[in-house]
Symmetry: D2
Subunit: 406 residues, 4 copies
């Protein structure tokens, strides 16, 4: 039995993905759309008693202020039919008005430029963490929530240099005590605060400041579920489905060139080399892990404003087969970034809530298929990653597993 | 221990795939190219003691006569580097000159037009089968072979209407006795003759006249290994790798439109509606079997002479995700048909030879991943099919399995 | 000086193109969108004093009845921003309610199936023409219009067999008198009625029953402007822009394969072989006329319901260059059919109105760039066709040309 | 009447384009292939009495040494049928052995790394120019040539900063006298030397060090024909054919993103930011010049070794039409760089030879269609550029023009 409703606190709560998650939960609640795109919407997960999207309470913080303009909603979730949007627009605006002002500490110039008057004025890192924790508590109390989960949907930060202190919890705590601002990014503070408050934490971004080894140790110590990094929604999803085919046929991938163009705020931020760097690190790794060797590869990401949320990717795969003959496969992916990401966020909220309620803690490897760079998982082919989730679900279907009280 | 060399008899021995198989075995034997494109060329299969491609002796029959023109070889295997071709051209010409005249009984107008003076003059079906069997025996004796495998690489026949007699061996034998020419196509006669001679038989074509249930019963009765249908080399290969991705993400495939253009003799024959029909049947089935529902789908095949052996396919996949948003994935496959098919033929020859030597018989379900429509196998996702082969290979790697004497 | 407002009568007035034309005129009138996509929206045509879209009065007939469902408008013009649609939906619904019941005489099974209770009950062709003429007059009187133009936007009919009577006005009049129903399609009756009433007539469809030579003679005799056939909006537009490039470089186009998929009612009708035939005739001709030789070419059109109005075309162009090397160009066109067509319809209405007011009559060759198969024009490269329009416009810019009273 | 044979001296004589030009002239001379890809191979130019490719004598210099390996020829001109290559390989090797050692003065690190022992040891710029001039003279004398043309086919240099001295011949001569090495690149020295020797000069590269205004003044002063810059062979060719289509339809190009991948030495050099910069300058300009406004545009070039000479480009064009609807056109160009470039080089040699023989001098604007950034020409649409060439040819067809003696 759940004690009260479940809350979800988004870092980056006014971004397109957050808005789409909330819109989706509203639309599903009103039966305006089927749960397509949501993995947990299939009957495989029926035996699990996952929390219903409509029973979630959403909140969060953002460094931007909500757009008061009524047109905004239609533009932000453009691919959704206006007839649906009209029936949820009031609640969506209420959600937007409820958002806290976020903190952009150490996020790089691209993000900080977007932050008008972001609230990061505390004197010490510990004080900032304290402020963030109080926000989580306020959200919980205000809505009388049994539990709060925290999901990082903020813009990608530049990668933080991983030093010895990030590998050991004690060393990292010391850096916080010493107020070493070089050792953290905003994502670090939010992740730390979430775990300190006992909130399951999901890092949907490639930002590596959130779930480095010391932070995972912190989660284990506090018996909190965490998982990341970088939601796998588009080009990399296709990559992880297609690359194994070449192995199955002993075809040598000589080159795999990918070009991504997109026009949402994610694209705008990724247009800055520092922030792009984080993304490319998680994208580039997948291929050589699946193939077992490193083909010539390049992943380009360009900001093309006219595309809005419609990410378009062209991948050119040059491969060699029998008797050295060269052949090619190209694909063009045209998907709405937030539309693809939002249902996965709902999936992970539901599965993390379940894991938490059952007393699981630390990393959640069965969520590997949702991430470009799943932490602690050495399985990269989509099919094999999905099998981890099916195996997890299978235990419930067999009936032997029940919720465990904390 | 193998008794003598292993022979391979091709139906359609002057087609591009056959020529490429022979060229490949020659080039591999001379170490002119690595075994790319050949699944059994990976170290997974090292423990199996498969017959080396260079140890195979090739022969076969064709309804066409070999081109005496020297330029022919370069054109037929165009994507192979001329430096390789120059070193094998003499042996390739010898092979071409050794080919028997084939029979085109009941293959449809498109194929029969290609057959100049094909040898099908026997009075009864039993006599024709007897003639074919004698060809197999002559080939075996001439080269002192321990075993002969038969592979159907002939042009696609129009589908035969499957009647009650095709479902029961006794009924079918009766039809042969009664000389019922409507019950057979050329592929039927060759398959029957192979099995009667104890030769493992592979149907690489979509022609359904070869391995209907009565024929499989005949193989089981004669303790002969058989498998088919329709080698999976291009568009359908990609389909069976990609379609599961949509299931993994609960994305609804609304439409999957595929357009294939190609210019080799296969394309020329498939330009005839009857012959094309066979192909479309095996191609179309895959999708709904993997997805569990039938999206709007169309597979077009057009003959474009300028492309030669380079099959080009454009697939447009229209799918629906969260909140009903429509998105798309397109791919363009540009592969050389014969270059892709030939190593799979070698794979299956090697694996069928092994199976035969171990006393296995009947269908070989572990070869499912090689076929568009694997007989007797209800597994359609490429990854799952490949797992069947890995499981088979795994038994050898564990060391518990040895060759069984017949 | 124009005498009263100008009316536009659409055959196929409830189709997507008609609806989009009306929506566009409304939106332009309310300054909700710039005149993009409309050639006459550029300043080249400023000197011409063309009738403003907002000053047009629209009506027409259709074999279907209007959808009374409010959701309809959003679905029909899906690519238009809902904020625009909300401001014109009332007027759009008024327009839809005003539409006459049309006649589907002899249009082929595909169209006739769509026609519920289409009004074609007259006893003779002459009587049917009379009925149609009376509709035109009623429309003119009801709105006090100075002039009415008629535009054929109906679904594509199967091609009519062009006989001797279609080449000579007297012979054709005789066929009408003799009530020879084989000599006409619905498009014939509407075109004849329009010309008889002195209404400029545009055939935006590939239907060849409208403007055969005898009909053009009738237009010349009655001093009425006419033009057709088949609006050039998508794949063929690109073709006529790209094909000259190959000529400019002396590159030999060996094959040009085009695959079109679309899901609107046009697609549904074109799914029938008879109706598709009309379309393919106008599409196929373009290439060989531009290149001066006939490459291998195939144009496929498939109905894919999920695409709605978004026509998607893949074209594969295989060409040969220096030393016989084969290369390729592919393109994928993703355009909304009605969005592309509607502004061209407005262009032609404006230009035909001008031509009529100046006393021009017969064919309007300066409109060639708008058509796939411009009647009486032997210029097929897009650029050269556009030059005809620029030359026409240039006369006005030079100031030497003024409206001529009839 | 020509006095003796015509010589062609290539800067970059061992590059793929040069080799292909020579191979092409040989093959055309032996009637092994038709003159496809060569604009002057069409009958439009029949009246011009252009020099036959087979009558050209080729030489040149390169900073690399010829590959002595016999396999080289097949790899360098891979798309040409081996049967053709076998008949010209001896002469091609003779050509390669005849090449002078070139100079890589000031060409940027990427090129200089390729130059083993390039001969640039002279003390002053004037001395280096003198050395180059002597090479041109030696080539002329050795073969008893009536005239020598110089074509720059060397790798792209980083752009030179255009200063005041590049705009005025006297100022530039002063810089040479003062031995100001910052004012020149290797291309400058070769262009100057060619003009000084009275050799028509073509700059097929984007290097801006060759034909700045002062150099054009030098050509006019010496009455020598020159033209450049940057041969238009692939993506930009398509751009200049397609972009006008959007203007013709008043469709707003919002974004035009282009990604080029290639694997020849050109690609290798362009992988260096400095050298790539030159290329992007000439590529980027075309679009805004044709459209009259600047869409969001990005041109990426990546080095993908496995592709060799097969340049592949994906362009994504996002455009807005009627009522603000967004649509797209994508194209994929797969062409062999040298195969496309070589015949244009032959075209320009033939046309420059004619112009020189007729006493024309200075820029040759009728060659605009061959260049990405034609100097002194404000016409950018392919069709309009081609018209300049047709107009030039038309004068000959009318018979009014004859060769003028110098």
């Amino acid at each position: 039995m759940r004690k009260g409703k479940t809350g979800v606190y988004f870092i980056g709560a006014l971004g397109s993905i957050s808005i789409t998650v909330v819109a989706g939960a509203l639309a599903l609640g009103k039966k305006l759309a089927p749960p397509l795109g949501m993995v947990t919407g299939t009957d495989i997960f029926d035996a699990m008693d996952l929390v219903a999207p409509a029973d979630l309470v959403f909140g969060g913080c953002d460094i931007r202020r909500p757009d008061e303009n009524g047109r905004d909603i239609f533009d932000r979730i453009a691919p959704v039919h206006p007839a649906i949007l009209m029936q949820i627009q009031e609640e969506l605006r209420d959600y937007q008005r409820s958002i806290d002002t976020g903190c952009s500490r150490n996020c790089g110039e691209a993000i900080e430029k977007l932050a008008g008057n972001a609230a990061c004025g505390e004197e010490t890192l510990r004080a900032e963490i304290g402020l963030i924790r109080s926000r989580f508590r306020e959200f919980k109390q205000k809505h009388g929530l049994g539990e709060v989960l925290v999901v990082n949907l903020a813009s990608t930060e530049p990668p933080i240099e991983i030093r010895a202190c990030h590998g050991d919890l004690a060393a990292f705590e010391d850096r916080l005590d010493k107020n070493d601002r070089e050792a953290v990014r905003a994502s670090t503070l939010y992740a730390y605060a979430a775990i300190a408050e006992g909130c399951p934490y999901i890092n949907f971004t490639p930002s590596n400041g959130a779930l480095f080894p010391a932070m995972v140790q912190f989660a284990e110590k506090n018996r909190v579920c965490v998982m990341g990094n970088d939601g796998k929604t588009g080009e990399t999803l296709v990559k992880s489905a297609l690359a194994p085919m070449f192995s199955c046929r002993n075809l040598e991938v000589m080159s795999w060139e990918g070009f991504n163009i997109l026009g949402n705020m994610d694209g705008q931020v990724l247009d800055h080399p520092g922030n792009k760097e984080s993304k490319l690190r998680t994208k580039d790794r997948v291929l050589s892990k699946i193939l077992g060797y490193a083909p010539h590869t390049h992943v380009g990401i360009d900001y093309v404003p006219s595309l809005g949320d419609q990410k378009t990717a062209w991948d050119f795969i040059h491969f060699r087969g029998f008797l050295g003959a060269k052949m090619s496969l190209q694909f063009v992916w045209q998907g709405y970034d937030s539309i693809l990401a939002a249902p996965l966020v709902l999936d992970m909220i539901r599965l993390a809530e379940l894991a938490g309620s059952r007393g699981e803690f630390g990393l959640m490897p069965h969520l590997a298929s949702f991430f470009k760079a799943p932490i602690g998982v050495e399985v990269h082919a989509l099919h094999d990653q999905f099998q981890l989730l099916l195996d997890y679900a299978e235990k419930f279907r067999r009936g032997g597993i029940h919720a465990v009280s904390k």
